[in-house]
């Protein structure tokens, strides 16, 4: 257990970090990662989400899946705030490499450099990579 862990209401609060690295529709990882985040929210842990590599595309505005028979689950990211999941980080290098800016994303995020993301991961107790 790390020194950062706090005890609250008799339960342990750990720093949980979900790392999203894959595009939203080519594989199921993004959708099933989001399911973990939503269920995990009930455990009242200290949650952070990182979007990097093609994972940035999960947050892209104006997703249209109507021709591909896939459910567009991007509105769910806007609901994360209601689950008290409010720490969303995007890796600067991944975003820039894809020609995107914060204005292209469906939710407010904090942009961090690769080095800062690395430091953020280092602070975590549990890192789940999808």
């Amino acid at each position: 257990m790390s020194d950062d862990e706090m005890m609250q209401e008799g339960g342990t609060i750990k720093k949980f970090c979900y790392v999203n690295r894959k595009a939203p529709y080519g594989t199921v990882y993004a959708l099933e990662s989001l399911e973990v985040v939503l269920i995990g929210a009930a455990f009242e842990q200290d949650v952070s989400l990182i979007f990097m590599d093609d994972g940035i595309y999960q947050l892209k505005k104006n997703q249209d899946t109507s021709d591909s028979d896939m459910k567009n689950f991007s509105p769910t990211y806007r609901a994360l705030e209601m689950y008290d999941v409010e720490k969303l980080y995007v890796e600067k290098e991944s975003m820039e490499a894809r020609g995107l800016t914060e204005d292209d994303l469906v939710v407010p995020v904090e942009v961090k450099t690769s080095k800062e993301i690395s430091e953020l991961m280092d602070e975590q107790d549990v890192v789940l990579s999808f």
Partner: protein, 130 residues
């Protein structure tokens, strides 16, 4: 040390389940504790008792079951991921009106909360994926 194990890929196609097995076995033999093994994404396919590999190949499912039996491992298959991929125990099959079930012995089906709990309770949650 107390480990949680997460397996995100199916058997034979990816190495993740093999590596997870060898890690888990080695940890147990060294006297470490495994809090839980959690199967997610295509990892749920490691739990079907219908798996029939060629006789000269390793039997990934039976290998997990034997390890679980020896060390009384808690091996949990995510219910949502399992339903998508046609993995069911007798209760799930009945509940969903299916005419068969295929969950191998020593595995049990439960929710994603079991994964979060493993993250909270274990000293390390080790993720095996692609």
């Amino acid at each position: 040390m107390k480990f949680g194990i997460m397996i995100n890929e199916g058997p034979y196609t990816h190495q993740a389940s093999d590596t997870a097995y060898h890690f888990t076995k080695a940890a147990l033999e060294k006297g470490h504790e495994i809090f839980r093994v959690f199967f997610y994404h295509d990892g749920v396919n490691n739990s079907t008792r219908l798996t029939t590999p060629p006789q000269d190949d390793r039997h990934i499912v039976n290998r997990w079951s034997a390890l679980a039996e020896k060390y009384k491992l808690d091996m949990v298959v995510c219910v949502a991921a399992a339903q998508r991929r046609g993995i069911a125990d007798a209760d799930e099959a009945k509940r969903n009106g299916k005419d068969a079930d295929n969950l191998a012995p020593t595995f049990r089906i439960s929710g994603l909360g079991q994964l979060i709990e493993a993250g909270i309770q274990s000293d390390r949650l080790v993720v095996f994926g692609d």
